[in-house]
């Protein structure tokens, strides 16, 4: 049975203590990263009128911010690999703040693209990756729970920012609001300050006194299990680094592209992200298209956000149970599949009550998937390589994330109806769900096989070592006698 992630980190993660403070910091950081771009849409109408630009030009602002946030992933990974999470998050917070302050003095729409979009997006990228990475360093056993709790930041911060932004807009107009938001975003720096690097020297390696060959075999079994699941032992990693292809390898781990689990995750994610965000974006317009009034349509989004908020920690708890944890990839595959099923049913549910039911189930699905999204990546590649992995994943996901909503919009325009778009999104999530189930079944089997082979190999070498020892002892005994 392939176990859950073992720490070949070289130390035991605390799994508590200051770790919960880290989770709180990550909660804020991740919350701002995801919720901030969404909450800015409140200002779009006035900015559009002020600069006399078209709706698509203002929508570009969101796209630039999102693109820059995802493209900044690898840069963020490199910096975290070198400097650790704390400085990167604090710099990220300062970047977003500077971007917003500069934007409040903006005179053209291009000015806003640069300040809010580019600089702001980059700053948010510097918040997202390090927060996820540091959770991996502080948690091992309770990691799914920690991830679930941290990802809850996104809906909670959105829930707080949305009315706050509206109030700021009514009191100060868009310029003053941008200035004050520049201040509010500085709270990411507080989150960063909390991210104390984990103390790797306080607790020694848990590979304590070997109790004879069995003990040694057991240790090596532990390490080999770790090997089979994720990256090699530190010593092996050193060998790899010496064979590395130049500077790049030291900054970001491109050997991940040879990692089976990583490739499975990447391919599945690229497909599923096409259909991930579009249903959220088009939920309110679809409801209005069906004749539901504006306030009820907005209420649908609130229902969605509330269910999302509650299911994330619950998913974390479920992911942590002993039944789910070893096979957490199946849980993730189920979440993806369930998302697809939800979207396929959406057009079939009539009326406002149908949409409410859909909003509830979709909220559950979306939250489940989000809570597990990074946990399963950590499970596959291990906390040590997670930083590079998430950087590579985000920059490759940049494409589908950006293309998804416009493509869906195009589908709506072609057919004049939203239901085909929902069917398409459903398929885009159903297929990866099934793909994940199959591929992870295969992957777990392979891992089991490798693990058995390793154990057999270790036992053989252990027996040989014992025999060698006995012969040597025998020789020395003879020598002493003789």
């Amino acid at each position: 049975m392939p176990p859950a992630e073992k720490s070949k980190l070289g130390y035991t993660p605390p799994d508590g203590g200051w770790g919960w403070v880290i989770v709180f910091g990550a909660f804020i950081s991740i919350g701002f990263s995801y919720a901030f771009p969404k909450s800015l849409t409140i200002y779009f109408k006035e900015i559009q009128e002020y600069f006399s630009v078209s709706y698509s030009e203002i929508a570009w602002l969101s796209s630039v911010m999102l693109a820059s946030m995802y493209a900044g992933g690898p840069v963020s990974s490199i910096l975290v690999n070198r400097y650790g999470s704390r400085p990167v998050v604090m710099v990220g917070g300062l970047l977003v703040s500077t971007g917003m302050i500069l934007a409040s003095f903006g005179t053209t729409i291009m000015h806003l693209y640069l300040c809010v979009g580019l600089i702001g997006g980059f700053g948010l990228a510097f918040n997202l990756q390090p927060s996820l990475t540091i959770i991996g360093t502080y948690f091992q056993i309770k990691r799914p729970l920690a991830n679930g709790l941290a990802m809850t930041g996104s809906p909670v911060v959105l829930f707080t920012l949305a009315p706050l932004n509206q109030w700021l807009f009514d009191s100060f107009g868009w310029r003053g609001s941008f200035l004050i938001l520049g201040g509010i975003v500085l709270h990411c720096c507080i989150a960063g300050a909390l991210m104390r690097p984990v103390n790797k020297h306080a607790q020694p390696k848990p590979k304590a006194e070997p109790a004879g060959c069995n003990g040694e075999a057991a240790e090596k079994v532990a390490s080999s299990e770790a090997n089979s699941q994720s990256d090699k032992l530190l010593s092996k990693e050193n060998k790899e680094e010496s064979k590395s292809q130049g500077c790049v390898q030291k900054f970001i781990d491109l050997s991940l592209f040879k990692h089976r689990g990583f490739i499975i995750y990447l391919v599945g994610n690229v497909v599923l992200f096409f259909g991930f965000f579009a249903p959220v974006v088009f939920l309110a317009p679809y409801a209005k298209h069906q004749g539901i009034d504006e306030y009820s349509a907005a209420f649908l989004l609130s229902i969605f956000a509330l269910t999302d908020m509650f299911i994330r920690p619950i998913t974390g708890i479920l992911g942590n149970t002993k039944w789910v944890r070893p096979r957490i990839q199946y849980f993730f595959s189920f979440a993806v599949f369930y998302n697809g099923v939800c979207h396929l049913f959406c057009p079939l549910l009539p009326g406002y009550s149908g949409k409410v039911v859909y909003a509830v189930f979709f909220g559950l699905a979306f939250g489940m998937l989000s809570a597990l999204l990074f946990e399963v990546l950590m499970d596959l590649v291990g906390a040590h390589r997670f930083s590079s992995a998430v950087g590579l994943v985000t920059i490759i996901e940049c494409g589908p994330v950006l293309l998804g909503p416009p493509l869906s919009g195009a589908l709506v325009d072609i057919f004049g109806d939203y239901k085909y778009m929902y069917y398409a999104c459903g398929v885009f999530m159903l297929v990866p769900g099934i793909y994940f189930f199959i591929m992870h079944y295969y992957n777990y089997k392979k891992l089991d096989e490798e693990h058995r082979q390793d154990v057999a190999a270790e036992l053989r070498t252990c027996e040989e070592a014992v025999q060698l020892r006995l012969r040597q002892d025998g020789k020395t005994a003879h020598e002493t006698d003789g």
Partner: protein, 309 residues
């Protein structure tokens, strides 16, 4: 020859008569068209009432001779005749009281009204005794979306105020902008102050751009959609504030963040100092207990693994 002189005289008379109603202070509609009443187009609106009352909204764009027809199916009494009368804005129209006979199980009231200008618009009611009435609300197309919250802008900045007529309603012939001046409205003319005001009007929307704002620019602004019959108004409130306003909360938040970050980092420094100070004395004990604790852990799990393998 004489016929055209008569027409001209008649038109001048009409002009003089209508001139008395024009008030230069209030933004009235454009002077009424110089079309004699009998040359106006006609339109009919009829309503059949089954209950006790009904309100019918009538949207008018141009001057028209409007025939309003009321039909009432009557109540259980079914009196052979009933007193019918017309009211305009609650007041009885002179000589409109008449006896209405029951024909084909219905009571009918009909009257033609000349609607030429804004004063003719309003609420016209046909009453059947005091038992039933139908209200006809005559109005030019109203601007639907009225922004209730003020637009906030800054001293020295410029602001864009927009007004929009919905696609479902007919488009106005032109747009005007007015500024509140005490209780009156003053029309904004871009010719007078081309550097400060800019009006960009398309068919259905209009934008007023005010440059180089000062605090005195704050207040109510009115946009008027001009139709032949009258002008529909909508208002927007503008608030002009100084840049210091948002600066105060911003600085407060920045100070709060700096203080919290400093507290967190200082606390951490003091903690690590404590650890290193107590380190030499306590670490050996600590590591001993830790190793013991951890050695139990992995041995258990390793034995578990062995069993399962």
């Amino acid at each position: 020859m004489s016929a055209s002189w008569k027409q001209l005289f008649f038109q001048i008379l009409l002009l003089l008569v209508s001139c008395r109603h024009i008030n230069t202070k209030t933004p009235g509609p454009t002077p009424p068209p110089l079309i004699p009443i009998d040359q106006l187009p006609t339109d009919v609106r009829s309503v059949v009432l089954k209950g006790e009352s009904h309100t019918e909204k009538v949207e008018l764009l141009n001057p028209v001779n409007l025939a309003l027809e009321c039909t009432w199916t009557g109540n259980q009494d079914k009196l052979p005749n009933i007193t019918g009368l017309w009211r305009k804005n609650g007041e009885e129209v002179q000589n409109s009281s008449q006896t209405v006979l029951l024909e084909n199980d219905q009571y009918n009231l009909k009257r033609v009204f000349s609607i030429v200008n804004e004063e003719n618009l309003g609420s016209y009611t046909c009453e059947f005794g005091s038992k039933a009435k139908i209200d006809f609300v005559l109005a030019a197309p109203q601007i639907g979306e009225v922004r209730d919250k003020p637009i906030v802008s800054y001293v020295g900045d410029s602001v864009v105020i927009t007004c929009k007529m919905e696609d479902t309603k007919p488009q106005p012939s032109t747009w005007n902008w007015y500024r509140a001046n005490g209780t009156d409205k003053e029309q904004i003319s871009t010719a007078q102050e081309p550097l400060r005001y800019e009006i960009k009007s398309e068919e259905r929307n209009t934008k007023l751009v005010v440059h180089s704002l000062v605090e005195a620019d704050g207040g109510l602004y009115y946009c008027g959609a001009v139709y032949a019959i009258s002008t529909s108004m909508s208002h927007v409130k503008l608030k002009v504030i100084n840049f210091h306003e948002p600066l105060k909360p911003f600085i407060a938040i920045v100070i709060e963040v700096i203080v919290l970050v400093a507290i967190i980092l200082l606390y951490e420094k003091s903690q690590s100092k404590k650890n290193s100070a107590a380190g030499e004395n306590g670490t050996t004990d600590q590591t001993n207990t830790l190793t013991q604790g951890e050695s139990n852990g992995p041995e258990e799990s390793s034995s578990m693994r062995q069993r399962k393998v």
